[in-house]
Every structure is written in C-alpha cells, then in structure tokens.
Symmetry: C2
Subunit: 314 residues, 2 copies
C-alpha cells in the first residue's frame, strides 16, 4: 500500500527533472475570498501540468529490461503529454491512446514530445480496449493516468512542496478527476492538520457520490468544461480519499469560468479550467474558509487560446 | 539632469510599495531564439504594469503642501491606473484624462483604484488640453506619463533589478513608446556593458525615426496593436535614448501577435501586446542576439480577455 514514504522517495527520484513550482498570492483575491490564499502554480510545471511528476516517477522506476519496450497509456491530454516527455528523457518510445474529443492543443503537445497517438471513442471502455491492443502488439509498459501507486506517489510530491512553501496552512483545495493528485496529496499531508478538500465539477461528480455513498461509483457520463476532470475515480485512489478527505465540494462550469477570469486577470497567469475549479470551490464556500490560510493547487495551463470561454462570463 | 543616482534613490523610495518582480525562463523559447532569454515579468507588478514604479516615485516625492490637491495626468491606460493606485496609497485624489479609444479594461482599472476619469479625443493636443483644464480647475499636481525626471528615474529601477537578477547580461530589449522605461533603464544600466535595444511597433515608429535623423519627430499618427506604445517620444527622454541606445528595432503587429502566443503558451503568463514586442524584436533579429544572454522586459499584463488577437495567428 502506497504511503508517505513512497511520496518522499518519489520526490528524491523526480527532483532532477521537474520544477519546484512557485507560490503566487494576490491581495485582491484575498479580499474577495475573505481568506489568505496561496496558489501552487503547477501550470509552470514541465509540460504545463503536475502530471509531469507522476509520469516521471513511473518512467524512472522502469527497469533497464522493461525500458526498451517503451511506455503506453490512455489520456485526454496532460498525462499523455507528460508520459511522452518523461519517456523522451529516458530515450524510449511512448504510445498514447487519446479520446477523439480531446482538445487539439493537448493532442499537439503529445505529438510535439515525439509520441505516437492512437485515437479512440471517448469512453473508458474504448480507451481501455485501444490501450490493451497497443500493449499486446508492442509489449509497451502501461503507465495508467491515475490508478497506479507510482503515479499517486509522484503527484503527492505537490503536497510536500506545499508544506515547505506555505507555513501553517489550515486547508488545501485540490481538483479531483481520477484522483491521482488528490490521493497523492492526502498521503503527502499525512501527519499535518491540514483539512483537505477535493473540488469536482457538478457535471462529473462521481468522486462526490462515491465518498457520500461509501462505494466507488463507476457509472459516469461526465460533462464539464474541466476537460482534465472527466475521468472516473480510480479503484486504488478511492479508499485513500474516502479515509482522509474533509469533503468533496461541487462547482458549476459557470463558477469555473468566473474563477478562471479572476485568476487570469489578477494573477496574470494562464491556467486551464480544471485548475480554476479550486478557486471556484473556495468562492462558492466562503464560510468554510473565512479567515483561514488556504493552499489551492493550480494544476495546469494547457488551454486552447483560440477557444477561450470568456464570452460566457457572468 | 536625471542620472543613475536618481534611479538608485527612486528604488529606495518605492521599494516598500512595489514588487521586485520575478525572472522567468523557458528552454523551448531559448531553443527557438538561439539565445539565453531572461524575461523580467513586470506583468506581475502592482496594477499589472511597470508604470507603478514611476507613478509611486512621483507621488511619494510630493510635498505635504502639494499632496492635498491630488494628482492628474493623461494616459491611455497603465500610467493612469498606476497613478490612481499610487495616489490612493497617500490618500489623495487622482483625475485621469483618457483618450476615447483607450481599452475598456484599462479604463475599468483606473476607476477601480478610485480615480476620476475624463475622456477626450485620442490625440496628443486633445489630451494635453483636457489635462490643462483639469489642472486649472482643481490645482492638481500634473504627473506626466513619461516626459518627467521622477517618472524616468522610477521606471529605471527595472534595470537595477535586472542587473541583480540576471548575471552577465549581454543585451537588453525594452519596448519604447514615450520612452520613460527605455530612458530610465539606459540610465539604470550606466557603467555596464549591456547593449540596450528599444523595440517599437512599425506603425508607431517615431523613436526609430528620431534616433535615425538625430532630431525628435513630433508628427506622429500611430497605428498598432501595442496600445501602450502609441505615445510620442518625450522631449526629455529623447537625448538620453539617442546618446546611449544600441539601436531601435521595428516590429510588425503580426510578429507581436505571434510572439504573444508563444509567451502565453510557453511561459503560461498573461502579457499585453506592448510586452510581447520585445520577444518579437528578438525573433525578428536572431543574428544580432545569437548565443547571447538577453534580458527582455515584459512590461504589463492588462489585456481584454474578451477580445484577444489569437484568431490572427500566422
């Protein structure tokens, strides 16, 4: 079972390759929120997203026997780009199964890191079937996007940095899709008193329903502007989250767009909707965080600049 | 005559109020440029632009007798917002004359800092006439946007920070509109061997023509996407620039848009066209900077997110 020691080892392993990303603050956003906010800027991470951490951890752990067969995965974008990049560092190949509705900008990024792209229908069974075919044909090492101990440990290194960079944190807000980052950070925060909240789109609320019912929901027809959070909560991720989470908070797409606009205009940074959801979750639950010191993970900055949602502002 | 000692004193004076802004780098942009680039991120400055520096210097220098009458200026945006903000810190009033074609997002920012806005025709004579009227009626202290020693000294503090944050710089690229930042930085770099280039829009090339002819051009019908660089080179700014500049480089609006896209997608930051012009100037003159260590000032990040130029990409 993966624990904080795996997260600490992952940090040692990946630190030569990834960035320790900066923290940003804004007086105006603190005023709007009624709390002291610390933004962990994983949009400045390698490949523009925290996914570089888990992918690097998994690829660096491959043995010299496994390495030459390359890696493969299914991904709607950032994990695919991260795995392609991590594979290129070890001079091995990557094949990424991508749902046909993935953003073009994310497909372009995967291709730019030299990976092969295989398109499939945008369902989990179609993704798994296409991936199975790739692995069968090439012998590539499957590196899952989130339901994997190497990935969970790698993503959890975000929390270790937050503990060092943000003193006396009361709460942390972390997006939840498949649950790799959230489970990893919950492990990374082990032993601290930080109340950790998962933030999830209303239109992709399987983690919320899973935690509420105590049983992992698998039937899931997600619909949200948060294209990084459409995946189904992972089997290995669920118990870690269920046992340690303060709560899962739901957010509408409109709230995400409004929060994204605030982040772009006030912090002057490019973040994707799946990142802005943490600020949206805070602003929709101000009472919960009033006067507290809150860390918010901004998970990535890979957006299509030709197709932004700011004409839909409230 | 303003010199490096004024810049050093300005730094002491304004440092309690402004940010020492960070430097960003990108391996990919270094590869594209064939040089080592250091981006000075004044888009993260107070009010989202370097203009906070000069305005703060001027307002902090007001005597206790002058202060109660408030301040006034004409500005297409960032200087107006910066002066409004700097006035609010000393609890005095600000009145900003704004050309009718100024971006709404910049007018909103001025209003948000509590200043009064007076609109006028978008010509220099109309701006000066409206400002004259305001000063006559209210007795407000005029703080010019660039042709002013307090402003030049304040903006020059950017160069002092660059000298500390970027070691062994070979060259610096700085946007030029009225010439406050460029003249100030040339003074700030005094005694160093840094070759400093002013970067100017093709459609607003009065600094280029002034330096080429040795005489300041006043007839000017600017047309460029760089809304912060439409002003005419200042009288006091011109000799400083003429005597110290390596060259003025011209850039088309299309090159600005392409460079802006690179900065947004690779650095994950929001910068305005008047900032992106420095990268455009470098990419249009690669031979000049090949293999060198180059500092580029990103002057501000105040853009209208509902009206971005990325549908005009090459």
């Amino acid at each position: 079972m993966v624990d904080i020691n795996d997260v600490r080892e992952a940090r040692e392993r990946i630190s030569p390759y990834i960035h320790q990303t900066p923290i940003l603050q804004s007086e105006l956003l603190n005023e709007v929120a009624g709390a002291e906010l610390f933004f962990k800027c994983e949009n400045f991470q390698k490949v523009g997203a925290f996914k570089a951490r888990g992918a690097t951890n998994a690829v660096q752990l491959l043995s010299s026997e496994d390495l030459p067969r390359g890696v493969a995965t299914h991904s709607s974008g950032n994990h695919g780009a991260a795995l392609a990049w991590a594979a290129s560092i070890r001079n091995t190949s990557a094949c990424i199964v991508v749902p046909s509705n993935a953003k073009q900008v994310k497909k372009d990024a995967i291709a730019a890191y030299g990976a092969e792209i295989v398109e499939c229908e945008p369902t989990l069974p179609a993704r798994e079937s296409a991936l199975h075919q790739v692995v069968k044909e090439t012998g590539a090492n499957f590196v899952p996007p989130y339901d994997d101990e190497r990935i969970i440990a790698g993503q959890g290194t975000v929390a270790l940095e937050m503990l060092e960079q943000m003193e006396n944190l009361d709460a942390a807000l972390i997006p939840v899709g498949g649950g790799g980052l959230l489970a990893g950070c919950l492990l990374g925060f082990s032993g601290s008193s930080i109340e950790t909240y998962g933030i999830e789109p209303e239109g992709a609320d399987d983690a919320y329903r899973s935690v509420a019912s105590g049983e992992r929901i698998k039937a899931h027809s997600p619909d949200s502007i948060c294209d990084g959070l459409l995946t189904t909560l992972g089997e290995g991720n669920f118990p870690i989250i269920r046992d340690r989470i303060a709560d899962i908070l739901l957010v509408s797409d409109q709230e995400v767009i409004d929060a994204m606009y605030l982040l772009w205009t006030r912090l002057k940074i490019v973040v994707e909707p799946s990142s802005a959801i943490t600020l949206a979750g805070l602003l929709g639950n101000r009472d919960l965080f009033a006067g507290k010191r809150v860390g918010l993970v901004l998970t990535g900055g890979n957006v299509d600049l030709k197709n932004l949602p700011f004409d839909q502002l409230d």
